[in-house]
């Protein structure tokens, strides 16, 4: 399960429409959408938002992956809905609020998913450079990502080597298994440290931070479609701020709530009495 969730946030090298947008545009998209998701507390606007974002998943060409991830987190979403529906007080309809929470979670998962699916680690680090973060931070992000395959390969070798010497990794209870991991962790850490030391030497020898400023062979450039989208997103953000300050009442159809008899609590009570009746007979 955990690997499936990790996979969901893993960059997919594809040439979809969404991939062609600048990471800064996508960053603003994530910020604006997060703002709106937090702004709305009612079910209908959140459902509309969800319906609006889902096509973007299709455009980013990772619908299958998204579906798989959603199925994986479904129990969690259900838990959010049920707990909210049963435990929330001081709201007219706890079930509606619970469902709204569930949709909030789904929207956020979608939005962040789109970002990480379509922004490569390199673009991410270049974005940090454009935002005037220190270059070392940006470099660390892209290098960490680049070393994942190397370290995975090495870990596999270490595991195989220790197994060949009789280490039993998947035997015994959880504590024993954790204890069995120690002979793996020590060489893995040692080699990672050695690697990072050697890399530090190598980049130092090639003039790391030799000048205060540095230049770049490639850097990000906003295209016309980015400007257009940014304009739209800034407009949406302005609307968000306006709503936060002025607190306009939402139209009544947006405030729709589940009828009393479909509340989870009343459904549960009805179910309980039905069961009781069944056994009394």
């Amino acid at each position: 399960m955990s690997t499936r969730i990790l996979e969901y946030f893993n960059y997919e090298q594809d040439k979809s429409l969404i991939h062609r947008f600048d990471p800064r545009t996508k960053m603003l998209f994530v910020i604006v959408l997060t703002c709106y998701t937090i702004l709305f507390r009612d079910l209908v606007p959140l459902m509309l938002l969800f319906a609006g974002v889902t096509p973007l998943v299709l455009l980013a060409k990772f619908f299958k992956k998204w579906l798989r991830a959603m199925i994986t987190v479904l129990p969690l979403v259900l838990l959010i809905i049920i707990l909210n529906a049963l435990l929330l007080k001081n709201v007219p309809s706890p079930t509606t609020a619970g469902l709204a929470m569930g949709f909030r979670f789904l929207i956020l998962a979608e939005v962040f998913g789109i970002f990480f699916q379509t922004v490569s680690p390199d673009e991410l680090s270049q974005m940090f450079i454009k935002f005037r973060f220190p270059y070392s931070l940006a470099w660390a992000i892209s290098t960490a990502y680049r070393f994942i395959p190397t370290l995975t390969k090495e870990t596999a070798i270490i595991v195989a080597a220790q197994k060949a010497r009789g280490l039993q990794i998947d035997r015994g209870n959880i504590f024993k298994r954790l204890k069995n991991m120690i002979p793996l962790l020590i060489p893995i850490f040692a080699s990672a440290f050695r690697r990072s030391w050697q890399l530090a030497e190598a980049i130092e020898s090639r003039g790391w931070n030799a000048m205060k400023k540095r230049t770049f062979l490639y850097s990000l450039r906003l295209k016309w479609w980015d400007y257009l989208t940014l304009l739209l997103l800034f407009g949406l953000f302005a609307l968000f701020l306006l709503q936060v300050i002025k607190q306009y009442p939402l139209p009544s159809w947006m405030l729709w709530q589940l009828p009393e008899k479909y509340e989870l609590k009343s459904l549960a009570i009805a179910f309980w009495s039905w069961l009781k009746n069944l056994f009394q007979k």
């Binding site: 030497e201 190598a202 130092e204 020898s205 003039g207 062979l217």
Partner: protein, 296 residues
Amino acid sequence: MTYTPVIELKNVTFKYKNCDKFALENVNFQVAQGDFVLLVGYSGSGKSTLLKTLNGLIPHFYSGLFGGDVKLFGESIAEKKTAQLAKTIGFVFQNPENQLSALTVEREIAFPLENFAIPRQEIRRRVNEIIALLDLEKIQDKSPFAISGGEQQLTAIGSALALDPPILVFDETTSHLSPQSATKIIKKIAELNREQGKTVILSEHRLDRNLQYVTKIAYIESGQLKAFGPPREVLHNKNYPLELYPRITSLYEQLKKVTDNFAILPEKHRKQLLAVPEPLTIDDFLLFIKGGRESV
């Protein structure tokens, strides 16, 4: 005009922290412009330590006891940072994977140029030049982790060359590679030495591949420079261990070249020599030179 050596080491001594033995003890030598120096010695004899003193990795990067002076083009480097020296000295390390970090080969080569804030057009021009020089056109857009070890090492060389340093240092650069790629890399290094006049220092366990290109050999044993000079001189030095002689295979190859070219041996012997597979020992070799072994 007085003669200034490109590299000059004066009484260089170094002891790593938490280690009771000296890694380097009073090392003195001078390297002239255009020299190809081969640094030979067993593992742990101090080869890497010696090379790391050349661009200040020692003592700036390793804590320990440092003494003596290293001069590049007559200037002491004691006050200079390693990063600043990248324009003077290009360093290529042993493990190809642990010295690359960029997304593509092209950007790896651009990395030192970016560090020195060279304008973009200039970076582009220089990168293209190096890619052409090292025949990296096919892999220039690939990740440095998706190419072979030999190509990785070529990329590292390209990156070290980017700032056009007059000195190139190779720390067992070929030891992780297959014999074929190693030969290719050494040939490239020799080309850089001969055609571009780079001063090269290369450390190695074995001499086979390099001997034909080198102008000087430095033999180091437990931190002391035991012999330094032209190859013939060093190989005849009594301090020089037999194990570090070029292997017989290489002797044989050279001999074979001679027999091919000049036919100095009588017809019969030459035929024998070429018909028999590589001799394994000197005795083996003498045996069929004498004609004691008809065929195998």
